[in-house]
Subunit: 341 residues, 2 copies
DNA sequence: CTGAAAGCGCTTACAG
DNA sequence: CTGAAAGCGCTTACAG
């Protein structure tokens, strides 16, 4: 219960015989303070176990050092990795991560204001899509916002995104290269820019050689829905010979369905996923998949947050990163090779 | 850049013709305020777009509404799920989650104080182990701490843990039940209570029928190390007929190695994992695994945080939860069945 | 470089 | 139920 009265700046000031202002300076990077006093203050602080109260500091300095992270689905290993990387890179810069999970368009309206009430210095939104009203609210406050892995038209929303169109086209070219002709696309959640652009790129790749998609279905980015969708796709006659799924979870479902139908992968059906998550590299699936380079994505996002909100009237940055096709057994019988795009 | 001056309580007070104190009361659950004023304040607040500044509130009320979550490894789907569940359950109670990722014993000493400087109301530590010095620091402040999925002897650290000994014993009984005799254990990280207790339970289950472990090795809870360890274990003569791995990632490695050695699973080698993560239920692995009931674990942990630190001199709670064996094809050729323990 | 003073935006006894 | 006042622990112009 208790809770001893914590040590405050004034205590350190008294012990080291300086003013509170000087104690504050000792804990502020790059503020003017003499070597001697700095040392004295730090010693006293250490002896007393003093750490500046970040909350009080926030109130006066108007910088919380907290970045809000909004993430839709942590069960997807891609987003788990994104979160871990983001959190780590923020920690490196001594920034803290306030997490909002399970965010969909619906509840974000009530959840985000709570996040903002903690005076976050910026918001990184992965997977969920910010409404324009919410984005405006952030812009009004001069709060930098970056949308990760979802494109947004909104003027003051920064975007870091994989070039999904190019990624889709790369997949088409790879499948054409191994002689496939009758191809289908398994969409993620309709109306997400990621699924849409992957499809656009895929189709355009096929169009280059005069081919069209033979079929398409929707798996909502999740295993269960993809199971049903693949079942439908694979029962078509004549048989498909390649299937591009908008993420790995769905591609894994596709492999499972193919196996249960005794369709040989890759001989009779080539399967490609997206995100190159750990399950894709597992021996039992060995899935060809498009890799997004999470590290680079997050680096950009963090840099945008640190850079702050763009000056009024100026448009936020939209960055598209190249992806890489990791070729595995689900499209090629043999050894692993990599195609850069 | 800009950032309009945000609306403060005083603005709402003026607009609605009341004092700042009354505005504050309007936003404080269960404080005495008349219906009429409540309505008037809320209307004005809505019109002006006012939200109380949680940082300022923290400074005066000494409750931040923030819970610190320390997690070692988000790439492990078990912990990703733990984090998501925790965050969601905290949100339900209007509590925020401040995340510390990639925490090991080493860097926790520097990272946790940063977390504490944000005046968190409690700390949930998953997977990493708190040093006794750190735990004391929290106790001094009257800060409730709960250690998830790792046992801790420390007096003022709450614990929510799966009954790993019982879990290990359950696995032994299951394997004995399907006629296995030559069994090995693949440990996680040595010196973690989880790996140690799973092994103790497993051994004690075998001991009940006079059997002993034929071999053991260490996989550090990760796929790569488990690959090598399993390779060693499976090259032994006479052959093992069952392998219990302290988590799923290692069990999956074991399946991969067995397959590459053309050892039939489960006919020649039964394999059991722990945590019942999504990959375990995938068709290609169909792994028998011990399920920990994350929901229940997190419920308990959150309840402990909300209850606050135990009165001085009193020992914190240590809760052990029952687990459940999910039987799949890696130990039984046929259909899925469940054993409660 | 250093200190005294004001102030960040709220809540909380204290009176009434 | 309501308001005036003090104060939470810090930082930041302002002088010196």
């Amino acid at each position: 219960m208790a809770g001893k009265t914590p040590v405050r700046a004034i205590d350190v000031a008294r012990t080291s015989g300086v003013s509170r202002a000087t104690v504050s300076r000792a804990f502020t990077e790059g503020s003017s303070i003499s070597e001697a006093k700095l040392r004295r203050v730090l010693e006293a602080a250490d002896a007393l176990g003093y750490r500046p109260n970040a909350i009080a500091r926030t109130l006066t300095s108007r910088k919380s050092g907290i970045v809000g992270i909004v993430i839709a689905d942590l069960v997807n290993p891609f987003y788990a990795k994104v979160l871990e990387t983001t959190c780590l890179k923020l920690q490196e810069r001594k920034l803290a991560s306030l997490l909002l999970s399970g965010a969909d368009a619906h509840n974000l309206d009530t959840l985000l204001p709570q996040l903002l009430s903690y005076q976050v210095d910026g918001v990184i939104v992965a997977a969920a899509t910010l409404s324009s009203r919410l984005a405006d609210r952030c812009a009004e406050r001069g709060l930098p916002v970056v949308q990760l892995n979802r494109y947004s038209e909104l003027d003051h929303v920064n975007v870091v995104c994989c070039d999904n169109i190019r990624g889709g086209r790369m997949v088409a070219e790879h499948l054409l290269g191994i002689g496939r002709q009758r191809m289908a696309f398994l969409a993620g959640i309709e109306n997400t820019s990621s699924s849409r652009d992957r499809e656009i790129g895929f189709r355009s790749g096929l169009a280059q050689v005069g081919l069209d998609l033979k079929a398409r279905d929707v798996g909502n980015y999740v295993y269960r829905d993809a199971l049903d969708a693949t079942q439908r796709l694979l029962s078509r006659k004549p048989r498909l010979d390649a299937l591009f799924c908008a993420n790995d979870a769905m591609a894994i479902a596709a492999v499972d369905v193919a196996r249960s139908l005794k369709i040989k992968v890759p001989e009779e059906l080539a399967i490609v996923g997206f995100d190159n998550t750990p399950p894709a590299s597992s021996q039992a699936y060995s899935l060809t998949s498009v890799d997004q380079n999470i590290d680079q994505m997050v680096d950009q996002a963090v840099a945008m947050i640190v850079a702050g909100s763009p000056p009024t009237g100026q448009r936020a940055q939209k960055i598209f990163l190249a992806s890489r096709l990791e070729v595995r057994n689900s499209t090629s019988g043999g050894a692993t090779k990599v195609v850069r795009g």
